[in-house]
Structure formats: C-alpha cells, structure tokens
C-alpha cells in the first residue's frame, strides 16, 4: 500500500493540473449556467408568447438529451458551422447550455412563487418593468431557488468529467492517463474521489453562504 502511494507521487502534479482545469471549467460553466438560466427563466415568464415558446423548447431540448450527445454535437458540429473554438471552450459552452436549462427550471419556479401583491405594489409605486424584474422579481426568485439550484450545479460539476471524452485533460482525463501508465487505478481513483468530493463540498458551502445572504431577515421556516 505505502509502496504504491509513493509510486503515484511523481504523477500528482499532473493530476493536480487536471484538477485545476476541472475547477476552471466548473467555475466558468456554473457562472454561464446561472446567467443563461436566469435569462431563460425570465423568457419563460415573459409576456410574449413567442419568447415563452422559445424558452420552453430550449429547456425541454437540453434537459432531455444525454449530455455526452450534446457535447459531441457541439464538438463536431461547431467546426462544420465554421466556428472554431478549443475543446476546453466547447466543453464550457456545452456545460453552460445544459446547466442553464436546469437552472432555468429552478429559477422559474422561484419566479412563480413570488406573491402577486408584492409585484402589484411595485407597479403601483411606478417602477418600470425592468426595475421590477431586477429589483423585486429576481432577488426574490433567487432567494427561494438557490438551494435547489445548488443540487443542479453540483450535478453540473460531476458532469464535467465527461469533458475528457473530447480531449480535455481535466481531472478524469488525467486520471485515465495516470491509471494506464502506473497500473494503479485504485489509488488514482481514490485521489479523484477526494478531489471531486472536495470540489462539490466547496460548491455546496458557497451555495449555503449565498442562500444565507439572500435570506437575511427571513423566518427560519422559510430560510
């Protein structure tokens, strides 16, 4: 056991590089998914029927197709359209788009949970539609949706391991390589286990922090 851990040591740097890439992809994709999700959620609750339809199709489409299929679609499809971006960028884009569909669903539920009277008050006091959306609707929607959004985002982090299938040497990708060269898959994947758990744990802490911040002043039962 001790011997094998020592044998792994020269490869740790490489694994950590992969981990850094995973963290980078996840941070970008989480940000992208939240922004895109908020946008799609607002379209889903918009007045325009066309906007609502577009957003609904988006959600249904990207939630109901396996992520790996979406990833290959972008990876092989974008160059066909004359769009050349790196594998890493393609991965982040695909994760943002897929994550956005789930985030949109969660935020939409948050938007629908807002008391109509609160919005009517804002209207009566003369706030414009954009002001109501940004100052009343979104803050309240996010408040109730951060928690469920947390599980969506953790899933997104786990999904990042699939990026190894399009040549991105993130954590899972490097692990495959190290496992193959050292013949120590057990030890390698034990390291992976710890690193992924650390990453998702950090994310869940961040989500809890944001939740607490957005729910200042709320009674415990709701918060």
């Amino acid at each position: 056991m001790i011997r094998s851990w020592n044998a792994l040591e020269p490869h740790l740097g490489f694994l950590l590089e992969g981990f850094a890439l995973t963290v980078a992809a996840c941070v970008l994709a989480v940000a992208g998914a939240v922004v895109l999700g908020a946008l799609i959620a607002s379209l889903r609750t918009a007045r325009s029927r066309a906007a609502r339809a577009v957003a609904a199709v988006y959600c249904d489409l990207f939630r109901n197709v396996p992520f790996i299929v979406q990833l290959f679609f972008f990876f092989y499809g974008l160059p066909e359209l004359g769009i050349y971006i790196g594998a890493f960028e393609t991965g982040v884009l695909a994760m943002s788009i897929a994550g956005g569909a789930f985030v949109a669903d969660v935020i939409r539920a948050g938007i629908l949970s807002i008391e109509q009277g609160v919005i009517e008050a804002a209207r009566v006091f003369g706030l414009g539609r954009w002001q109501i959306f940004s100052r009343i609707v979104m803050p309240n929607a996010l408040r109730v949706s951060v928690r469920p959004m947390g599980s969506v985002l953790i899933n997104l982090v786990l999904t990042s391991s699939i990026l190894s299938t399009i040549t991105v040497n993130e954590l899972t990708g490097t692990a495959k390589i190290v496992a193959a060269t050292t013949f120590m898959p057990f030890e390698v994947y034990a390291v992976l286990l710890v690193l992924y758990a650390a990453l998702t744990y950090a994310l869940s802490l961040a989500v809890a922090g944001v939740h607490r911040r957005l729910n200042r002043g709320m009674p415990e039962a709701v918060a």
């Binding site: 209207r123 009566v124 006091f125 003369g126 009343i136 803050p139 200042r216 002043g217």
Partner: protein
Amino acid sequence: MIEINNVEKRFGSAEVLKRINLKVEPGEVVTILGSSGSGKSTLIRCINGLETLSGGAIRVDGNDVSTAAGLAAARRRSATVFQLFNLYPHMTVLQNVTLAPIHVLGQPRAEAETRARALLDLVGLTAQADAYPQRLSGGQRQRVGICRALAMQPRYLLLDEVTSALDPEMTGEVLDILARLAAEGTTMVFVTHEIEFARRISDRIVFLEAGELIVDMPAEAFFSEEGGLAVPRIRKFLSKMTKD
C-alpha cells in the same frame, strides 16, 4: 382631483362595476362602503391602474389612467396602501420606503433616507428601520406600508381595507395614524369596514351595491335618519355592521 366617469369593469361576463361616477377633490376623505363583493377593491384597482377599464375613464389631475403616460403620471400623484401590506420581503423597512422615491422620483439616496426616517419616526418605527418585514408585527408592517406610500408625497392616498388583516389593538395603531393624516388634510379614498372610524374621519361616504354606486353623501347626512338611513339597503348594512 380624481375623476371617475362612467367607469365599467367586467371580468368575463360578470359586470363588477356599472357606470360608476365619482369625484374626489383635494383635501377630501371619501370612504367607500359596501358589502363583500360589491366592487370596492376593484374600483381602487381601477384608479391605480392594476385593472384595465372595460368602459368609461378615470383621470387623476387630468391624467387618463388608460394611457401609458397618463398612468405613469397618475401613479406619481397617488399612492396605495394594501390590505395585506405587500411589502418587499427581501428589503429592510428603510429600503421598502425608499425604493420608489429613489428609483421612480429620482431622489438622491441620502435625501430619500432622511425623509424615510422622519416618516418612520412619525409612526413610531424609528428602531425598526433596518429590520426585515418578516420580523415585524402586522400593525408595524402596515405602518411601514403607510410610510412607503407617504414617502412618495402623494396627493391622493388610496387605502383598501388596510386594517382588516389586523387585530383590534393593531387596528387602533393604524387608524390613529390615518386620523392624523386626515386631520392634516391628506386626500384619501378609503375602503373600510370600520364604520365608526369612517364616520369620524370622512367628508363623504359612497355606497357600492353590486357594482353600482347607489349613494354619495356627506358623512353626517349618510348616518342621519333623513339621509343614508332612509335608504333601506344602507339601514340594513349599517345595522348589520354595527352589531358585530
């Protein structure tokens, strides 16, 4: 002046307001009475533009609420206090009161906050400025609701059953403030079931019955034998309301 001319409101086939005519002059307190479902809330919601009219017109100082520009102008001249408070739950008391003054009237934040604190002092909420609404009692919330409305320096205050979600003690807190505002000459359109209070502060009383405005009288006349009490429907309403 708030001018309500031949206003009609239908929800589907239900005629909820039928050719309502009413004028509210600056400085007047006009109370709207009527049994449940008679259309009182709907009338208030037509004045502040939460409902679109099916017919007729409403003008607030000449601004037609049926047009976008007119409604925006009307909303700067009037402010509403709601039955269920409708405070912004994610904002502190101070933020609730200053939101519209800052973002609608364009007041500098510091000025808006100074005014807001002065209003909160007046209603005894000095210590609650930084609290969130959920931490307040119903009476305190409604006092915030009143401050939020007054912070707009409205010419007209629209109040729809602002005490009906409160227990008697809190009702007292809120009514005291409204009585003070009335005495200071604040113009109010006031929907209430507090008959005695309405009698005390109103200049005029109007009575809605199934969407029709059947009586519009000075307050003393409304409660007199020759006036309101001579109308059987009102006599019945008043005897029922004052019994419980």
